[in-house]
């Protein structure tokens, strides 16, 4: 039965393949080089964001001409498919095979959790989050090697509940969103403000992967003062289009990932709904801030085929890369003694953002950042967000002491709850 | 216990096609019974009914005193009905010996065993004996896919014998055999112990008549004649069916 020869040949074939594969990383040991790995998503539904992240990293490294503190930067790019186990395998490959010093990434929440867990097992390497925004990554079971310079999903919606209640006079909001942790966190953030002020929220969760929202739309209470859309990306486009087609008339407000360049650059009847739409989010496309204008100019010049304005992914990966470069500059490229000096520098960094603000880290190495209330405007057929209000120093705990915040429990489908009577 | 096999008014329809029409048949234990008939007479369908490949649309099938009409196929093997198939249905990916082993264990306890029966096991010994008996001992370890047509027919027989049948049903054992192989088959059939009841579908009279005690001739799904072999050749109905005399 057992063909010994097959096995022997397989082993021989393996040896050949193996020796071929070792050629590549042989130069890894050279001094004077800092190796930075990146993980983003270039496959599947998240690919657009991943592509923009690559643009941002390219910009950040080109700005310093791939040199920091006199050392050459080597950039090793890896792509995952937004799945935790793949991100983990890529991270391992970057660290163990390519021997990068620092990883920038990943993109999605589950990946962020996986890399946070992985970083805890590392000594002498640092992972700087790219864009992933699950709250727990830096809220519970934190890792000393994991740094996040972007707000989490909950921070990204700060201000919207207040705005809806006070400015829009909404008392009853119907929420539509995907039934998983990331939207839970955003709704949690919204309700922190809105319910405290006395508002009521009807929640309509759709299973992840839903593309036909017709029945959800049919279930939206007619007496709701506004509909809060928490869907992102393709789901958002699907929901908005179908809502428009169904002749929906209630005012919409939107979460941070609902209104981005993906949705705004797509065409369709949903554009009618987008015009003047109010949303919360960590970036504003059409800010008057000169830093932002310069950033957008550089982006457009370097990538004429990119978006009309850099996406949220680009901004966050850019900030992450800038943070890494600044900290490296501060420690003069010294990554010795398990990167202690570098990590200390990162922890107390104040990174200027392309939005013209600054971001710094809390004790859990989580960003304290600005957040915006934005309005969508139409400029010659192109949609942009403009700034309506700006909230600075938004913390992960909405200003509460961490213990008190944790006592509220994890965001979930039913937590918190303030349904209309 | 009465008859080894008793069919009571057994019928089978496939849509509008009435393949077997009210066949009644009694085969006493130990009899060698040949079933003759032209193509499409319903002989193989009758076999399939007895073996439980599908249930009859009417009538009853009784073997060794037990009503089998609605019992599953696997049960037939367990009470001692073995059969061969017109076109070999062997396990082509297994060796001759393994084919026989599977057949031997089918009707026994332990067919589900996930423990090997051991090199000196009684099953293996029996399988080797069977291989000997159907003259395949020299190919015992060969994969069935490499056997010649004649060898496969021999193995078919071995498989049917392996479950120690009380009732053995052979579907055209001689089909496709070369003239040289036929006498050998005849001898093997003659050598069968007399306590095995044998039912045989055959076109080749040279094979069927010398060994049978009783001959049933079927046509269009019905039994038309039942006779002893010495009388069958002179039966006018049979000659008409076979030679078409009476027409034209």
């Amino acid at each position: 039965m057992f063909k010994g020869l097959i096995t022997r040949r397989a082993a021989a074939a393996l040896a050949v393949t193996a020796s071929a594969a070792f050629v590549a990383p042989a130069f890894a040991q050279q001094g004077g080089v800092i190796r930075i790995g990146s993980i983003k998503t270039l496959e599947g539904p998240f690919a657009t964001g991943g592509q923009d992240a690559v643009r941002a990293l390219t910009m950040a490294f080109e700005e310093v001409n791939f040199t920091v503190a006199g050392k050459k930067i080597e950039w090793v790019r890896e792509s995952s498919n937004a799945q935790a186990d793949v991100a983990l395998a890529r991270a391992r490959k970057l660290i163990e095979q390519d021997q990068v010093d620092i990883i920038i990434g990943p993109l999605s929440g589950a990946e962020g959790m996986a890399l946070r867990d992985y970083s805890r097992t590392l000594t002498g390497n640092t992972i700087v989050n790219g864009q992933s925004a699950a709250a727990d990554t830096t809220l519970r079971d934190v890792s000393p090697n994991f740094f996040r310079f972007n707000g989490d999903g909950m921070q990204w919606i700060a201000g919207l509940g207040t705005y809806a209640y006070k400015t829009m006079n909404a008392r009853h909001v119907a929420m539509v969103g995907g039934d998983y942790a990331f939207p839970y966190a955003q709704v949690f953030g919204f309700m922190q403000e809105f319910c405290k002020l006395g508002g009521k929220v009807t929640k309509l969760w759709s299973p992840l992967g839903t593309t036909d929202f017709a029945s959800t739309i049919a279930s939206i209470p007619k007496n709701a003062d506004a509909v809060l859309v928490i869907h992102g990306g393709t789901d958002a486009l699907a929901f908005l289009t179908q809502y428009a087609q169904a002749g929906g008339q209630q005012p919409l407000i939107a979460g941070p990932v609902t209104v981005d360049q993906v949705v705004m650059s797509a065409r369709g009847p949903h554009r009618r709904l987008l015009n003047n739409l109010i949303s919360a989010g960590p970036i504003v496309d059409d800010s008057d801030d000169p830093t932002w204008k310069a950033f957008v100019d550089r982006y457009k010049k370097r990538f004429p085929d990119g978006f009309a304005a850099p996406s949220i992914n680009a901004v966050h990966y850019y900030i992450a890369a800038r943070a890494v470069l600044m900290a490296l500059e501060q420690v003069k490229g010294d990554l010795s003694s398990n990167q202690q000096a570098f990590q200390a520098a990162l922890a107390k960094l104040e990174v200027p953002t392309p939005m013209g603000g600054k971001v710094r880290l809390d004790d859990n190495r989580q960003a304290i950042a600005s957040n915006f209330i934005r309005r969508v405007v139409d400029r010659n057929g192109q949609l942009f967000t403009t700034q309506v209000e700006r909230f600075d120093n938004v913390t992960q705990t909405y200003g509460m002491p961490r213990a008190e915040f944790l006592a509220l429990g994890s965001p979930s489908r039913d937590n918190p709850s303030c349904p209309p009577q | 216990m009465g008859n080894a096999l008793e069919l009571q008014d057994v019928g089978r329809r496939f849509g509008a096609l009435h393949a077997v029409k009210g066949v009644s048949l009694k085969v006493p234990p130990g009899q060698r019974h040949a079933i003759l008939g032209p193509n499409g007479a319903g002989k193989t369908t009758l076999f399939n009914l007895v073996c439980g490949d599908f249930p009859p649309t009417s009538g009853q099938i009784i073997a060794f005193g037990e009503d089998l009409t609605r019992r599953p196929a696997l049960h037939r093997a367990r009470i001692g009905i073995g059969r061969t198939y017109q076109t070999s249905l062997l396990f082509t990916g297994l060796s001759v010996l393994d084919n026989l082993l599977v057949a031997i264990r089918g009707a026994r306890k332990g067919r589900f065993s996930m423990l090997p029966s051991g090199a000196g096991g009684e099953d293996v010994t029996r399988a080797r004996e069977l291989a000997e008996r159907v003259r395949l001992a020299h190919r015992a370890d060969a994969e069935v896919a490499t056997l010649s047509h004649g060898q496969r027919r021999q193995l078919e027989l071995g498989m049917a014998l392996a479950c120690q049948p009380r009732l053995l049903m052979l579907d055209e054992p001689a089909a496709g055999l070369s003239p040289a192989e036929r006498p050998e088959l005849n001898q093997m059939l003659k050598d069968l112990p007399r306590d095995i009841t044998l039912i045989l579908i055959e076109h080749d009279m040279d094979v069927a008549l010398p060994i049978s005690d009783m001959v049933t001739v079927m046509k269009d799904g019905e039994i038309v004649v039942q006779e002893t072999p010495d009388k069958i050749t002179s039966n006018p109905v049979v000659n008409r069916i076979y030679l078409g005399q009476g027409h034209g």
Binding site: F46, T210, D212, A214, T216, A218, A238, T241, Q245, R267 | -
Partner: protein, 294 residues
Amino acid sequence: MTGATAATVVLNGLTLAALYFIVASGFSLIFGLMRTVNMAHGSLYLIGAYIGYAVFEPLYDRDLWYAWYVAILVGMAAAALFGILMQTALLGWMQGQELRQALVTIALSIIVADQLLARFGGTPRQFFAPDALFGSTSIPLIGNYPTFRLVQIGVALAVGIGLWLLLNRTRIGLMVRAGVDDRPMLAAMGVNVPLVAVAVFALGAALAGLGGVIGATAQPLAQGVDARFLLTALVVVIVGGMGSIAGTAIGALLVGLAEQIGQALFPTYSVILTFLIMVIVLALRPQGIMGRAR
């Protein structure tokens, strides 16, 4: 749930079923004649939709009313062309090796998805039908309802009736049905069966392409949609019975209604409902509701 909401949900189920039928009918047709399980059916959907979109966008920009109709034609043609290529270059000569064909189409679907991603990026896209089809229509009891979803039903009916006429009223239809029963015998009658196979593959692929444009008008077009629609087509034909157009219609209705009703009644577990239907059908009738026992 109020009566009006219930009616809306049922209508949603019907309109979704219509879309599923359009996509799955091509899959079922191809399987029926050739026993080829085309795991690249979702890719044909994508090809139809993306190529259709590439033609659609410039026309739409120039405000040409026929942009969407052209997109449908081009989408169908592109998918059909790719289908013909698949059948002639790869699948035709391994006729009968069902598993190998399935593997080939799986490989193709991986390549196609990636190449489309390379060409068209990950940005979701969406067609807009002409205004007459794209607003909302007032329906008694239900109120305003998206017109295009009703159009979907119309297209599905047209596809269903068209296929029925083709299979029952034309000579090529006779060939296809005879080929389903006994390909070698059909060939022995002088029918160029490989050519019929290519024609059927082209038609099945064109239906996937049509589904692509219609689907991408109703829902955004993005990466990953291919897998969704392939899976839907699989479940629809498993439930309805492989190779039967009527079965496909029944399967599509069951799956479409189950999805929408499930979503309205118990969103979290709605996914299971579809698969529960599949398991129950398989337990009772392994060949599917309208499938012929094999």
